[in-house]
């Protein structure tokens, strides 16, 4: 079944500075939607607004139904923030149990974790920690997944494996991804928005990305 997330009518300002205005963003099952933008343009704020943890004037609709506090519905949407969010004291065993996921499938894809089942998250390397967080969010049962800088701290081989995972999972999920490793995002995304001057622009070519001042060449 196809599901659709739409966000618009968002007005976010801090003091007199308008951060977001004139946003329109759509994510659909089977698609990976990329969101690019320079630092401070409001990409993470936009994700938090959609997730419902940052309050402002907005219209966020899931299959046409407004949802102000999406974080209360993990069956609907899950969110990978740009920072580490799994408590370091928890073991991988506990994390996989909490998210109702099979550790063996994870270890088969990432053999370096085979012996880490009972290790605590805090004992993993930065990349390992990030990979576990990314995997549990991507694989969890949910219609929509938002990933804020998913490739940070990952090695090139891990990035390739994660891209394969995302392409597999998008069959029955919709992804919204933002990352400054934009070439990796471009390779897998079906739709791409650039956030510039507080507004989203649906772009089709690299020339448009350059014109919006995000990247060169």
């Amino acid at each position: 079944m196809t599901h659709q997330l739409e966000a618009d009518g968002i007005q976010l300002q801090f003091g007199n500075k308008i951060i977001l205005s004139g946003i329109y963003l759509k994510c659909t099952t089977g698609c990976i939607t990329g969101l690019l933008g320079r630092n401070g343009q409001g990409k993470s704020c936009l994700m938090k607004i959609i997730y419902g943890t940052l309050n402002c004037e907005k219209s966020v609709r899931f299959d046409g139904v407004a949802q102000h506090e999406a974080f209360k519905r993990p069956d609907l949407i899950r969110y990978l923030p740009q920072f580490n969010f799994i408590p370091k004291s928890l073991s991988l065993k506990r994390v996989f149990q909490d998210f109702d996921l099979d550790f063996l499938s994870f270890a088969a894809r990432f053999p370096e974790f085979e012996s880490k089942y009972k290790s605590s998250i805090g004992n993993l390397s930065g990349g390992g920690h990030r990979l576990v967080e990314l995997y549990v969010i991507v694989k969890s049962n949910s219609h929509f997944v938002m990933l804020d800088e998913p490739f940070t701290h990952l090695s090139p081989i891990q990035i390739e494996k994660v891209k394969e995972l995302l392409l597999e999972e998008k069959e029955d999920k919709a992804f919204l991804i933002t990352d400054h490793m934009y070439r990796q995002v471009l390779e897998i995304c079906d739709n791409l928005y650039v956030l510039s001057g507080g507004t989203t622009y649906l772009v089709k070519s690299h020339t448009e990305i350059q014109a919006l001042g995000y990247a060169k060449n």
């Binding site: 974080f71 209360k72 969110y79 408590p87 998210f99």
Partner: protein
């Protein structure tokens, strides 16, 4: 009490996303924790009184 809540909210703020991704809201976490603390407090008070 207020200071305790403020500091916990500050240094645990990132970890709230773990519980939110599992469908547990901040309000629920606080309610369960404070209820447990209060019940433990009452239990210790009663035990202290009994063995005084």
């Amino acid at each position: 009490m207020g200071l305790t809540c403020y500091f916990i909210n500050s240094y645990k703020s990132k970890e709230y996303y773990y519980y939110q991704n599992l469908g547990i809201s901040k309000r629920m976490l606080w309610a369960v924790t404070l209820t447990f603390d209060f019940v433990l407090f009452i239990f210790i008070i009663i035990q202290t009184y009994r063995f005084k």
